[in-house]
């Protein structure tokens, strides 16, 4: 049963800008995020961040503060409520304050930037995130990342490789990061900062030092472009998907960093061979791909894996549905194959 029973005429289900931005700003651990709007907006997001944090074994509670607009503020304007809230939060032990707007604040016309521009004794950074007025979840992520990147100044490059725009709300965020770290280690490259995942405000200053930025997802290309123009850092537009995608990723990183990637690729190819051998029992099965995702990259990675194991994929009556997830790297393919085994041997 679908939990997202939006009408078929709707193509507006891109998620909330505010949630996207909060998934970034709340990972600056020594800063506070103010949500300028009614308490409900802050609760919705706090509840979601709390839930995903627990799923990811994070004990840290996001510091969200609501300006708690009530009916009166909505009638007469919420700017003073915001100023009061920033003032109160700036007196706490925080390195910075992010101010995120909500749908209703843009509708009533509060000048959030002007309120943020006043002097509070700590950096106050506005991020325009008015739900539907601001765009989608991904827009919120991009806006927050670009707002934060604007704080960092250009510095001398080193050998580090930054990870940009991890999906902090996804269940396997740490496992995906570990996979990228493993691949970078194979190439002998040190990891730089995770922009933004469990970061201190001061560490943002190191953003421009990396020799390469790896984006989590192609939707972050505007962020990659911003970083390239600000710091001259090239970028790779996505984490790798599937077996051949992982090998191509290694080659691409090696080429960009001007190192020899052939040894790393050889090791990775051998690892992939071992994994496929471990799942040889799935060979000659008949399967049909099922959700939860339908993006072409994930399906391509799944098809390639099925082909390598001689699993026949088709919609005939004897086919068993196997789940297709967005898998990152070789490790992601291996985890997907365990789920396929459960389904095919059920």
């Amino acid at each position: 049963m679908s939990l997202k029973a939006s009408p078929t005429l709707s193509s507006r289900s891109g998620g909330c800008t505010l949630t996207g931005a909060l998934s970034v700003t709340t990972h600056v651990r020594d800063a506070a995020s103010i949500i300028h709007g009614p308490k409900g907006c802050a609760h919705h997001n706090f509840s979601l961040l709390h839930a995903t944090g627990l799923d990811n074994d994070l004990a840290v509670i996001p510091a969200l503060v609501s300006s708690a607009l009530a009916e009166n503020d909505i009638v007469f304007g919420g700017e003073e409520a915001l100023a009061r809230t920033i003032q109160a939060v700036s007196l706490r032990d925080v390195s910075a304050v992010f101010v995120l707007s909500t749908c209703i604040v843009d509708t009533i016309g509060d000048d959030v930037e002007a309120v943020c521009a006043r002097e509070y004794g700590v950096p106050v950074i506005p991020v325009s995130t008015a739900g539907f007025l601001g765009g989608t979840f991904h827009d919120g992520v991009n806006k927050a990342l670009i707002s934060l990147a604007g704080i960092a100044q250009p510095i001398e490059h080193d050998r580090n490789v930054n990870i940009i725009g991890e999906m902090n709300l996804e269940y396997e965020v740490e496992e995906n990061y570990a996979e990228i770290l493993r691949l970078l280690t194979l190439l002998g490259l040190p990891a730089g900062i995770r922009f933004v995942h469990t970061l201190k405000f001061d560490e943002i200053g190191m953003l421009g030092a990396a020799q390469l930025n790896i984006l989590r997802d192609p939707s972050l290309v505007p962020v990659g472009e911003f970083l390239k123009s600000r710091f001259g850092t090239p970028y790779i537009s996505s984490f790798p998907h599937g077996l051949s995608g992982t090998l191509a990723f290694l080659k691409s990183v090696a080429d960009t960093c001007k190192i020899d990637g052939s040894r790393a690729m050889g090791i990775e190819r051998a690892l992939q061979g071992e994994i496929l051998a471990d799942f040889a029992d799935l060979g000659e099965s008949r399967a049909v791909f099922s959700g939860p995702v339908s993006d072409p990259v994930s399906f391509q990675a799944a098809q390639e894996t099925a082909d390598a194991l001689h699993i026949q994929v088709g919609k005939d009556s004897g086919s068993t549905p196997v789940p297709v997830h967005p898998v990152v790297g070789t490790a992601g393919v291996k985890r997907m194959l365990h789920r396929w085994r459960r389904a095919l041997h059920a």
């Binding site: 078929t8 507006r12 009614p38 308490k39 409900g40 509670i61 607009l69 503020d73 509708t107 539907f132």
Partner: protein, 375 residues
């Protein structure tokens, strides 16, 4: 109103959605942005719909979009219910007039107008159930999709009613719409924070004392009922609780407790822990503005909760996973949403006989785990 750190309770719009989405045969439409849709959608675990309005509709009006969504849902046989969120509520549009040509329920329950309970009550008021004096059986009250114990409560009270030979007419609000609109004259409660006020109440079912009193009235009102098996089961199960608690007290001091919940569950937890464990109830933080029979204060933000726990220094914290996240290594038992970070598959009650058993089982295990962990 002062700023609020990490607000802990959902808004009125979510409350209205929780009420209406519990009525089978109603298609709930959240008239607002995608963010306002996704929260109740993921929280209530039932299909709901949204208008997902965009900037265009805010500037030029949302009527066309709203009617487009209603059009796409018509023909399913379901009654459509539209709930407004903050932005449409302040746009000044006459949504009621927009919907005048349609058989649509309209609930004006924007988030800024209050908390979940007020939205739930507003939606129920709109449904305006009319007691059917000829209807047999009793209504079960206080079911709310947001409450993780709601399904378990209903199952448990249905079981007790079956034991007594009394039928259930309507579950408010987790039943087909036509049953909700025509309830029976008598009602028994589960979670009174979501009380409907429909029919004559025979009492609640939180704790053995309430169950006894309520089923005594059930016996008075329904001459054919045989409540003997219910009383006999209460006797047996209460004895088991007493034995388990005595065994605990033989080794350990009574726990000091901080309770965070809505008024109904908080009162139940405090009364039960005092009665069977001689617990020291150090503080009660209420999520809502309900009243209860002992001192309590409103605690709607995580900052307030944290401060109360730090002051009370309790052995045991009762609340949600929000409370657990600021309880460090204290014993914890969850009675209100959200209950994250733990797998919950089976419907567990807090109401009825099994509700008290499940609650005490959870508390005793949590306290004993903590004692042994801290050795």
């Amino acid at each position: 109103m002062p700023e609020c750190d990490n607000p802990l309770w959902p808004c009125a719009m979510t409350g209205a959605a929780a009420c209406l989405a519990g009525c089978t045969g109603v298609s709930v439409v959240i008239h607002g942005s995608s963010g306002c849709y996704y929260y109740p959608s993921t929280l209530l675990h039932v299909p709901i719909h949204g208008t997902f309005i965009l900037e265009n509709e805010v500037i030029f009006g949302s009527e066309e979009r709203l009617l487009e969504v209603i059009g796409s849902l018509s023909g399913t046989g379901n009654r459509i219910a539209v709930i407004t969120t903050c932005v449409p509520a302040i746009l000044g549009e006459d949504v009621k007039a927009m919907l005048s040509g349609y058989d649509v329920l309209f609930v004006d329950s924007p988030g800024f107008s209050g908390d979940i309970e007020s939205g739930y009550a507003r939606a129920l008021e709109l449904l305006a159930p009319q007691v059917d004096s000829a209807a047999e059986g009793v209504n079960i009250d206080g079911a709310c999709l947001l409450d993780p114990f709601s399904r378990g409560n209903v199952q448990e009270i249905l079981r007790l009613l079956r034991l007594a030979g009394v039928s259930c007419r309507t579950v408010l609000c987790d039943d087909p719409l036509e049953k909700i609109l025509r309830p029976a004259p008598y009602t028994i409660g589960t979670n009174t924070d979501f009380s409907s006020g429909v029919g004559e109440t025979l009492g609640g079912t939180l704790g053995f004392k309430q169950i006894r009193e309520t089923f005594s009235l059930v016996a008075d009102v329904f001459p054919d009922a045989d409540t003997g098996p219910v009383f006999s089961e209460i006797g047996r199960q209460e004895e088991r609780v007493i034995r388990a608690c005595d065994k605990y007290l033989q080794r350990f001091d009574p726990p000091s407790v901080a309770i965070f919940a809505g008024a109904s569950y908080a009162d139940f937890a405090a009364g039960t822990l005092e009665q069977y464990l001689d617990a020291d109830i150090r503080c009660i933080g209420l999520r809502n503005h309900g009243t209860l029979s002992r001192p309590a204060e409103y605690a709607g933000s995580l900052g307030q909760v944290q401060a109360m726990i730090e002051t009370a220094v309790p052995d045991l914290v009762i609340g949600s996973s929000f409370e657990r996240s600021v309880s460090r290594n204290r014993a914890f038992s969850g009675i209100i949403p959200p209950l994250r970070g733990t797998v919950r598959l089976a419907p567990r009650p807090l109401a009825g006989i099994n509700g008290t058993l499940a609650f005490m089982e959870d508390v005793l295990n949590a306290c004993m785990d903590r004692k042994t962990r801290n050795r």
